[in-house]
Amino acid sequence: MAKIDLANQATHLALKTMALLFSHVPGLRRHLRSDDGWINFSLRLMTENGAVDQVITFRDGRVSVAGGPANADLQIVCRDTAVLKDLATLPPNDVLNLLLKNRMTVRGNLAYAQLFNFFISLVVKNQQIRKMRKQAADLRALSSTGAPSRVPAPRSRAVKNLKAPSRDPGVLFIRDDPYLSRYSLNDFPRLKRFLDIHFTVKPVICHERPLLLTGWFRENGFEQKKDGTPWIPELRQGHAFKHLMENRTPLIRKGDLLAGTTTTSEIGVVLYPDSHGTMIWGELLTAPFRHLFPYDISAESIEVLHHSVFPFWIRRNFRERVRDAHSSPLCQSLDERFAVYFLWKTAALSHTILDYPRLLRLGTSGIIREVREELARDREADEVKKATLEAVILCYEGLAAYAANLSRQARRDAANEGDAARRAELLHLSAICSKVPENPCTTLDEAVNAIWIHWIGVHMENTNAGFSLGRMDQWLQPFFASDLEKISGREEREAYIRHAVELVGCFFMRCTDHLPLIPDIGNYLFGGSSSDQAITLGGVTPEGEDAVNDMTYVFLKVTEMLKIRDPNINARYNREKNSDTYLRRLCEVNVNSTSTPSIHNDTVVMGSLDEFGYPPEHLRDWAATGCVEPTLSGRHIGHTNCMMFNMVAALEMAMFNGRHPLMRWDVGPKTGDIDRGAFPAFEDFYKAFCDQLLFLMDNACEYNRLLGEAHSVLRPTPFISGLIEGCVDKGRDTTRGGALHNSSGTACIGLADVTDSLMAIKKLVYEEKKVTLPEMKRAMETNFAGNPLLHSLVLNKVPLFGSGKAEAVDMANRVTGFVHDRFLEHTNFRGGKYTAGFWSMSNHVAFGTLTGALPSGRLAGRPFTPGLTPEAHASKNLLDNIRDVSMLDHRHMNNNIAFNVKVVPSAKESHEEAVDHVFSYAKAYCDLGGMQMQFNVVSSDTLRDAMARPGEYRDLMVRISGYNAYFVTLNRDLQLELIERAEFGV
C-alpha cells in the first residue's frame, strides 16, 4: 500500500516539476502558445487499479497538477507502476511501443499525447538522444553477431542479360533487342548520381505544404468562412490547393530531365497534419536520432510545426473528427489498440489510379473547359455539384500556375548554368513547362513531365500512401511511337531509345524524392515501406489484345538497372495473349533485381472481380495499386488498403470466449467457455471463430465508414476528382462516391496461421482425439512450455496449408470464402462494396508480435507468414506450396494476394538456368490458375551477412508482402522473418 502511495506521490512530483518548469522557464513556457493563442488541455495519468491518478492541466499559459479523478482531454492508463516509470524515462519512440504492446492505453485526443511527449522531450531531450544512440549501437552489435561464419563474398552484382528469343507483336521499334540487353547502368551516369543520392541522403521533414495550407485556412476559415457561413468543404479545399500550388517553391533538381519536386529538400518527408501528421509531434526533437528511418528536421521547421501548424489540426484530423462526432466509438478503440485491425483510412484514402490518358490528351486547360461545359449544361446542378466543379477548376488553375513557375525557374537556372549542354536541357524544360500540363502533350518528354508535375499535385492533396501510377507503358507508348516515327536515321533512333530509357529512369528517381511520414511506431507496423507508387506493365488492352509494347520493355530495363523499391513495379501476365518471351523477361528482371516485378496472372485477377459486373473494357484496364490490389484505372476509387485485418485475433478470441489475451479485454461475443465443455464438435468451434471474425469485421467496416465520412468533411479531393471518371458528371467528389466505381479493399492477414491452427484443432482434438481443447488452450496460454509432445504433434502430424494436402486447402478456401462473403455484405461510405485481399505489407510481423501462441504451434510473438505464404515447415517441396496456393479459390480473393517465394540460385548455375527455373515456376503457377506471385532471389546467408555488414548492402532489395524495401533499413524482427522464410534452391 505504502509503495503504491509512493508511486502516486512520485508521479505527482514529476508532473509538478514539469508544471513549475513550464510555468516559469521562459524558454519552455513559450511553447505553451500557438499562433492561435494558448494551447489549453488537460491530461490524466493513471494506473489501471487507480492507485496512481494525477491530472496535469495547461490553461492560458499556466500549468497545474491535481489528484484525480477528473475529466481530461486525454487519459493515459498504465497497466502498472512499472509502465509509469518507463513512460518517464524512455525516449518518445519507445513510449509508442508501450502503446503498441498494450502495456499502456490512451483514451481521448491522441494529438495531446503527442504534444505532451513533445513537452517532455523539451525537458529531457539530451537524455533521450543519448539513449537512442545507445539503442542504435546495441542493435548494430546484435545484428553483427548473427552473421554466418562462412559467408560467400557478396554475390557479384554484375548484371547478366539474356537476348529475347522472340518479338512481341506490340514491339515495333526495339525489334532487334527487345530486352534492351545492350544497356547497363554504366551507360547512364546521370542515373548513377541520382541513385547515390537516393542511398545516402537523409530525408528531411518539410513544412512547406502544411504551412501554406494552414495559413490559408487560418486566413479564410476552415469550418466557416470569415463571414460566418459554412464552407462547402470541396470549394474550401479547391481554394486552398490553388493557393498552395501558386506559392510553393518551384525547384528543378540538379541535372534532372524532369521539373518539379514534392518538397523543398532533395528527399523530403511530406506532412499531412489533416490526416496523421501530428503523430510526429512528440518526436520532432528526436526524429534525427532514431535507429530506423531517421529524419532530419530544421530548427525552423520545429518552430513552424509546433507553433503555426500542429495546434490548428489537433481536432481537425480524421481520427479526432470520428472521436468527437461519434463519442469515441468501440470500433475506434479497437483500432487504437493495434492488435486486431489497423485502418489506413486514418491516414489516407489515396490508393487509386487516375485517368492520365485524359490529362495527356486534354491538358489542364481542356479539363477546365470540359468542367465549365458541364456546369453550363447541367441547369439542375445542386450547390454541392457547383461547388465541386468550381473546386476542380481552381485545382487545375493551381497546377497550371505551378507549371508556369517551374518554367520561369528553369529559365532562371539556365541563365546561371555554366555548362552548355545542361543549359540547353534547362531551356528545353522551360519550354516544356510553359506548354504542359496546361496543353495537350505531343512528345514523350512532355508526357512524362506532365504526369510528374501532376503527380506532385496529387501528393499536395492526398497522403503519399499507395497512390499509384497505373499503366504507364500503355499510356506513354503512343508518344514514344510518334517521336520515333519522326526520326529516320539509325543512330538518331538509337540515341532516342537511349534517351527514353534515361527519361523513364529520371521519372523513377523523381518518385523517390518524397517519403511518407512514419512515426516510429509505424516502423514496427509497416517497416520499410515507402509511398508504394505502383506502376503496372503488360497484360491486355481495353479491347483485349496483347498490350506488351516497346515501353513495357523500357520500363523493365529501368526497373532492372535501378533496383529501387519505389515505384513498385507490377506486371500483368495474360496467359492467353502475352508471350513466353515477355514472361521470361519478367523472371530475368526478378533474378537481376532480387525482388521485382511482382507477377499477376491477368485472367485470374480479372476473374476475381467477375461478381461486380464491371464492363469488360474497364476490367481489362486494371492496374495494381499500392502493393498488388486491382483498381480499374481512371474510374475507380477502390481504397484497396483501407484496413489491415488480423484474422488470427478472431481465432484467439474464439479460444478465450471473446477475450483478447494481449489486450486483456473481454470485447468479443461470448462464444463459449472451453473449460466448461463448449464446442462438442469441430463445427461448433468453427462457428465461434466465424462469430468472432464477424464481430471484428463489423467493427472495422463501421470505423471505415465513419472515417470515410470524416474524409468527405475534412479533406475532399477535388484535384483528383478531375481525373476520375464519374465525378464531374455526378458533381460529386471522390470522397463522396463521385467515381464511376466504388469499393473498399481489405488486407486479411494470417491465412496460413489460421488454416494450420484450424487443421490442428480439427485433426488432433476432434478426429484423432490426441488432445483435448482445454489442453490446447492451456498450451496457448503457456506458450507450449509444459507440453513439448503437443508442440511436436502440431508441427509434424497435422496436414498444413502448403504441404500438398487437399483438406488443408479446403480449409483455407472455407476461411477465405467466409471472409469474402461477409465483407461483401458491408457497404462503405461511398456506397461501394468491400473486397477481400490476402496480403500483409509487414503487418504479419507487427500483428505477430501482438499475438500469443497458436494451435498451429507458432509461438507467442512470432511473425505470421507473409501474405498467404505457407509456413516454412509445411513442405520441403516448393511445388507443394505453389500448387496449394494455386488451388485457392480466386473468387474469394478479389483484392488480390501476396504469395512470396524465396529462391536461391546455386553457385554452379548459369544466369540462363536461374532465369529458366524461375520462369518455370511462374509459368506453371499461372497455368495452374494461381493469382499472384513474388520472388525474393537471395539466400539467407546473404541476408545474414547484410545484417552484419549493412554498409555493403545498401541497395539489397527484398519483397516483404506486396511491396519492396531495402533490407538493411528494416527493423530487426522483419529482418529475421525474411531470413526464416522457406528457401528453395533454383
Binding site: 513439448p788 509432445l789 511436436s792 504433434l793 509434424n796 502430424k797 500438398g804 517441396n877 516448393l878 511445388l879 507443394d880 505453389i882 500448387r883 546455386s906 554452379k908 529458366d916 527455373h917 520462369f919 518455370s920 515456376y921 509459368k923 506453371a924 497455368d927 495452374l928 528453395f984 534452391g985 533454383v986
Partner: protein
C-alpha cells in the same frame, strides 16, 4: 512389408529437383543396390528391404514410441535406441512418433500409387522441359516396374532419365528401359578393378562394358549418356583414378563428364540406420570438399565439358 510382384520398394519421391537432369524433375528413389560403396551418400538406399530410421536430433524424448512397440525393441539408453534384432518393421513406432525422429524408409508402391504422387508435378514438367528421373539405390533392380513407369511417362510426353550405377543385365536393360528413356546418367567410380571391388564390393568389368556399349548406342540414337564421377577424397579423387577414367572416356569419344564433389551429409544417416561409420579418423571425410580440390580434380579432364 515386402513388395508384391507388381510393386517396387521406393524410399523417396522427391519433387522440384533441379540437379537430376534438365528442367524441374521428380526423382523416384528405388531402394536396393548391387554395389555397396563404403561412402554411399544414400546409405538408406542400399538394402532392398524397408528399414526404420532413428534421427536422434529430432527426438524430443517423449517416449510415445516405447509403449506402442509390440516387440519391446525400443530401449531408452541403448546405443542407436532400436534393438534391430527384435524389430519386425511393423512401423507402429513411426506412426506414433510426434517428431518424425522415427521414420520408415522404403514403402512398397504399385505403379498406380507412384503415378498418383507424380501426376501433380506434370504442369511443372511442361513449363520447364523437365520430367521424371529414376534413381536410387539402383532402378535397374526393378526393371519391369521401371519399364512400365517410363512407358507411362513417355505416353504423356513427360521427359525421362535413368540414373544408374552401371551394374545391370545389358540385354534386359536394352529391352526394358533404354527405348523409353531420353537420357542415362551413368556413375563411374573407380577404374581399377581391385580398387572397385575393395570399395564397392564388386568388380567393375561389367560396368565398364555396359558403359562402352551404351556410349555407342546413345551416340547413334541421339540419346544423352552422361558419365558421373563422385569425388571421394583419397578414394576416387586421386590422380591415378581420374586420369584413368578420363582416358577411358576419351577412348569412347565422350566429351562431357559430371564431377560430383564430396559432402559429409551421409554420415549422420549412417548412424540413424544403426550402422557403424567407416573411415573413423579420416578427418577429410567429415568435411565438405574444399573448392581447391574440386578444381584440381577438374584438371584431370582436359578438354571435357564439365557442366
Amino acid at each position: 512389408m515386402a513388395p508384391r510382384k507388381d510393386q517396387a520398394l521406393v524410399f523417396e519421391v522427391k519433387g522440384n529437383s533441379l540437379d537430376d537432369g534438365p528442367g524441374i524433375r521428380t526423382v523416384v528413389f528405388f531402394k536396393g543396390c548391387p554395389l555397396s560403396c563404403t561412402w554411399c551418400h544414400n546409405p538408406e538406399s542400399k538394402k532392398a528391404v524397408p528399414e526404420i530410421r532413428f534421427d536422434r536430433e529430432k527426438c524430443i524424448g517423449c517416449g510415445s514410441c516405447v509403449g506402442v512397440c509390440p516387440e519391446h525393441a525400443l530401449v531408452r539408453g541403448r546405443p542407436g535406441f532400436i534393438d534391430r534384432g527384435r524389430c519386425t518393421l511393423c512401423a507402429a513406432c513411426t506412426e506414433e512418433c510426434p517428431s518424425t525422429a522415427l521414420s520408415l524408409v522404403g514403402t512398397p508402391l504399385s505403379l498406380e500409387g507412384l503415378v498418383r504422387k507424380i501426376e501433380p508435378d506434370i504442369p511443372f514438367f511442361a513449363a520447364s522441359g523437365g520430367g521424371i528421373t529414376l534413381s536410387g539405390g539402383e532402378p535397374t533392380l526393378w526393371l519391369d516396374f521401371a519399364s512400365e513407369l517410363l512407358r507411362w511417362a513417355k505416353a504423356r510426353g513427360i521427359g525421362t532419365l535413368v540414373e544408374t550405377c552401371g551394374l545391370f543385365p545389358l540385354q534386359r536393360f536394352m529391352e526394358c528401359l533404354y527405348p523409353h528413356t531420353d537420357a542415362v546418367y551413368f556413375d563411374l567410380k573407380l577404374f581399377d578393378a581391385r580398387e572397385h571391388e575393395k570399395h564397392c564390393g564388386v568388380e567393375n568389368g561389367r560396368i565398364l562394358e555396359n558403359f562402352a556399349f551404351l556410349s555407342r548406342r546413345c551416340a547413334a540414337d541421339g540419346k544423352v549418356l552422361l558419365p558421373r564421377v563422385p569425388l571421394v577424397p583419397g578414394i576416387t579423387a586421386t590422380k591415378a583414378n581420374l586420369s584413368a577414367i578420363a582416358r577411358f572416356l576419351t577412348g569412347l569419344g565422350a566429351t562431357r563428364v559430371d564431377l560430383l564433389p564430396y559432402n559429409p551429409l551421409w554420415l549422420s544417416k549412417m548412424e540413424s540406420l544403426g550402422n557403424g561409420i567407416p573411415f573413423e579418423g579420416r578427418g577429410e571425410l567429415k568435411e565438405w570438399m574444399p573448392l581447391s580440390l574440386v578444381e584440381e580434380c577438374k584438371g584431370f579432364f582436359p578438354g571435357f565439358d564439365l557442366g
